[in-house]
């Protein structure tokens, strides 16, 4: 089984989506220092290809433009992020000895 690898931007997207539920692109950018306007949709598109996020079109337009696309983390995305978090904690020595 391939262990999923997350780039820092992908991890940040998953962190925000897990914390806040559904969000749209601009909301992700304004909530983060890592994500940029020019790259957030490229990142989201690649994550959707990998199955980490899924999206749907907003049903009703917010009134200030066309309907937006809302993103949320999939089960695979949540697991990948949890695994990364766990690995980071282990690496930092937060959970005691390495289980080998």
């Amino acid at each position: 089984m391939d262990i999923p690898r997350l780039s820092p931007k992908e991890a940040e997207v998953l962190r925000l989506l897990i914390a806040n539920g559904e969000m749209y692109g601009l909301q992700l950018v304004t909530s983060s220092d890592v994500l940029k306007r020019g790259t957030v949709y490229v990142t989201l598109s690649r994550m959707a290809e990998k199955g980490y996020v899924e999206s749907r079109q907003e049903e009703v337009s917010p009134g200030d433009g066309p309907p937006r696309r809302l993103y949320k983390a999939t089960g695979l995305g949540v697991r990948a992020y949890r695994a990364l978090e766990h690995a980071a904690r282990l690496f930092a020595g937060g959970e005691g000895a390495w289980a080998m």
Binding site: K36, R37, G38, Y41, V42, S45, A48, D64
Partner: protein, 157 residues
């Protein structure tokens, strides 16, 4: 045109209004009435003409054109040209998932800045949005070339 050219006297002929009714009617029309020689007449003069049974031809009016409205500049929304080019060059999926949302976000922020009467910020949002669009398009192009290279490499290898 019908309303503009309507004789002022018709109000009087139809139901015998009082002088106050006529005055009110003249006041309503006053803003857009001139006599045929393009001379603006006073209310009193108009009422005198009415009372003197001036022929109807005198009251056929033209729209008043003394004050030209401020010219309104109609322009395409920001990112219009970029989107048109991208729609022509990119795949539908890339366009719908990456490039159009980038421009939509820029337009939202741009409109918000204009609504707040912050024109300098609107200009900045426009510049930043254009840069974001180009960055996104560059990443897409770079990614596509990368995928192509990998595919060719695998074919050869």
């Amino acid at each position: 045109m019908g309303d503009v050219n309507r004789p002022v006297r018709s109000a009087r002929v139809m139901d015998e209004p009082s002088i106050e009714d006529v005055r009110r009617y003249v006041m309503e029309l006053r803003e857009r009435l001139v006599v045929p020689q393009n001379i603006i007449v006073s209310n009193e003069q108009l009422l005198r003409w009415i009372d003197a049974d001036t022929p109807d031809e005198m009251f056929h009016r033209e729209p008043k054109r003394l004050q030209q409205p401020e010219p309104v500049r109609v322009s395409a929304p920001p990112g219009h040209t970029l989107l048109a080019i991208a729609e022509f060059l990119c795949s539908e999926r890339t366009f719908d998932e990456i490039l159009r949302p980038t421009i939509d976000d820029m337009r939202r922020e741009y409109n918000q800045a204009l609504a707040d009467d912050r024109r300098a910020k609107a200009k900045w949002v426009r510049m930043r949005g254009t840069w974001s669009f180009l960055a996104a398009a560059g990443m897409v192009a770079f990614g596509s070339v990368g995928k192509l290279v990998v595919r060719v490499w695998r074919l050869i290898g």
